[in-house]
């Protein structure tokens, strides 16, 4: 009898287990790939040269196995903005509130100030420059973590590159499937970062229905941290799971140790869907910054990227001086189940075994 974990996604990628690790850490990606899973490296923040170097580094360690690169494609850009205009737009009230938080919690200044002078108006250019590396290197899988990849499908397919799209609404899935996207990642509200507002249990079967008969595999994302989640995702009709928070505290992860400890201590209620970090709503772990901006005394949260300009010094200061009490990171609601720092290989093995136990229980 075939393994219940062997799905069309496994055949499409030539992998053993239908578990996709989304990570910003090369070591995690390599460990997961070499353990039978699949990994997508998030490179949205990197320059084209850095992306090319990372691709080379990974290829040297995985012996021809496939891997993916994730970029963030913008899908909306304000009509005009400049850095000087943005800085001038931060009201004194919000500046004063930032200083209040800094003094109340003794937030240190960052060792090197975040470089805000490269911000603003670069959205399409940055994405296009990064995409050229993906094309030049013929990366096996390109994943668009936000925004539709429809415009690049023809060129990618001519180069033999699979294109994956991450969606937060069923209509986005239908549009991308019609355009020819190879794999759809259905991301629920439980997820870290920029989630939609539909829960994982609701969006996954809707996207599966949209993909029915097309041969397009669907991957479930949002709150997936255990083998029970994997089994449930497959029961909903998904062909695999997309996991992110799961790997943040792995041995291989390059997050600093106090932040790993903070994440291991975090509970589901500690992940907050808030716009106080960036001005965009996103799920991050609770911190004094969140508490203050949710208090009655807080002024109005600013629009992107003004709020990020305010929060960036706080975040960088907490990391530079390893202030666990101040730290925050994007993490999903499944964080409750992440309690140990384990090697990536063991994390994957534990998920697989637990999922198989679930299927055995139902079969027997």
């Amino acid at each position: 009898m075939n393994s219940p974990l062997h799905t069309p996604l496994c055949d499409k990628l030539g992998i053993e287990y239908p578990v996709v690790a989304f990570t910003h850490c090369k070591d995690v990606a390599v460990a997961v790939i070499n353990s039978g899973g699949f990994a997508v490296l998030g490179e949205a923040l990197h320059t084209p040269d850095e992306i090319a170097a990372d691709i080379k580094w990974i290829r040297e360690r995985i012996g021809g196995k496939p891997f993916g690169i994730d970029l963030v494609l913008p899908s909306s850009v304000p009509a005009e903005k400049s850095v000087a205009e943005l800085l001038a737009m931060i009201p004194q009230e919000q500046r004063d509130f930032e200083q209040h938080i800094k003094q109340k919690y003794n937030v240190p200044d960052p060792k090197i100030a975040p470089n805000i002078h490269v911000w603003g108006g670069l959205d399409q250019k940055r994405a296009m420059d990064q995409l050229e590396v993906v094309f030049d290197e013929r990366v096996p899988v390109f994943a668009s973590g936000l925004g539709s990849p429809a415009f690049l499908l023809k060129r990618a397919h001519e180069l033999g590159i699979q294109v994956w799209g991450l969606v937060g609404k069923p209509r986005q899935a239908k549009r991308q499937i019609e355009a020819g996207t190879d794999v759809i990642i259905a991301q629920g509200f439980d997820a870290a970062g920029h989630t939609g507002n539909i829960g994982t249990f609701s969006i996954v079967p809707q996207v599966v229905d949209a993909a029915r008969g097309t041969g397009v595999p669907v991957i479930a994302a949002g709150g997936v941290t255990t083998g029970r989640h994997l089994a449930a995702a497959l029961a909903l009709g998904a062909d695999g799971v997309w996991t992110g928070s799961l790997w943040l505290t792995s041995r291989e992860s390059d997050l600093n140790m106090p932040l790993k400890e903070r994440l291991l201590e975090a509970e589901t209620e500690d992940t907050m869907y808030s716009d106080c970090i960036s001005g965009y709503t996103m799920r991050t772990t609770r911190s004094p910054w969140h508490d203050e901006w949710m208090s009655d005394a807080a002024p109005e949260v600013l629009k992107p990227p003004l709020q990020m300009i305010l929060s960036s010094n706080y975040i960088q200061g907490s990391l530079d001086y390893q202030r666990k009490d101040l730290m925050t990171e994007a993490a999903g609601q499944g964080i409750h189940y992440i309690k140990e720092m384990k090697p990536a290989r063991q994390i994957l093995s534990d998920i697989v075994e637990e999922a198989l136990d679930v299927f055995d229980r139902f079969a027997g």
Binding site: L45, S75, A79, Q124, D275
Partner: protein
């Protein structure tokens, strides 16, 4: 490519684009499932808009990657101070028929 398109003047640091205008789109009410990367971080965020297309568009790169200008915004994120927003064409949904693509309303290619 549109016959009305012309080379646009890209601000410093931005990708060059070709500008165009399609009168068939002017006034069409649309929703944008928008968002983008957060500068200086590895995070990204979603933003949702509703407004009316002006008919102006921009084509980036050889693909091309087409963007439309959405104006007269009736829905935008809290604190979003701009009156208009450029939206990726594939992320736009006509309010009257979200199953249709914007391209299906275009007179130009």
């Amino acid at each position: 490519m549109s016959s009305t398109a012309s080379l646009g003047d890209a601000p410093l640091g931005q990708a060059p684009f070709r500008s165009g205008f399609d009168a068939a789109l002017t006034g069409l009410e649309a929703e944008c499932d928008g968002g983008g990367p957060l500068e200086g971080t590895h995070f990204a965020g979603r933003q949702y808009f509703t407004g009316r297309l002006t008919g102006h568009y921009r084509d980036f790169g050889p693909y091309p990657w087409r963007w439309y200008l959405l104006d007269s915004l009736t829905r935008k994120p809290d604190g979003f101070t701009h009156d208009s927003v450029w939206c990726d064409g594939e992320s736009l949904y006509p309010v009257s028929d979200p199953a249709k693509s914007i391209e299906q309303y275009c007179k130009t290619e």
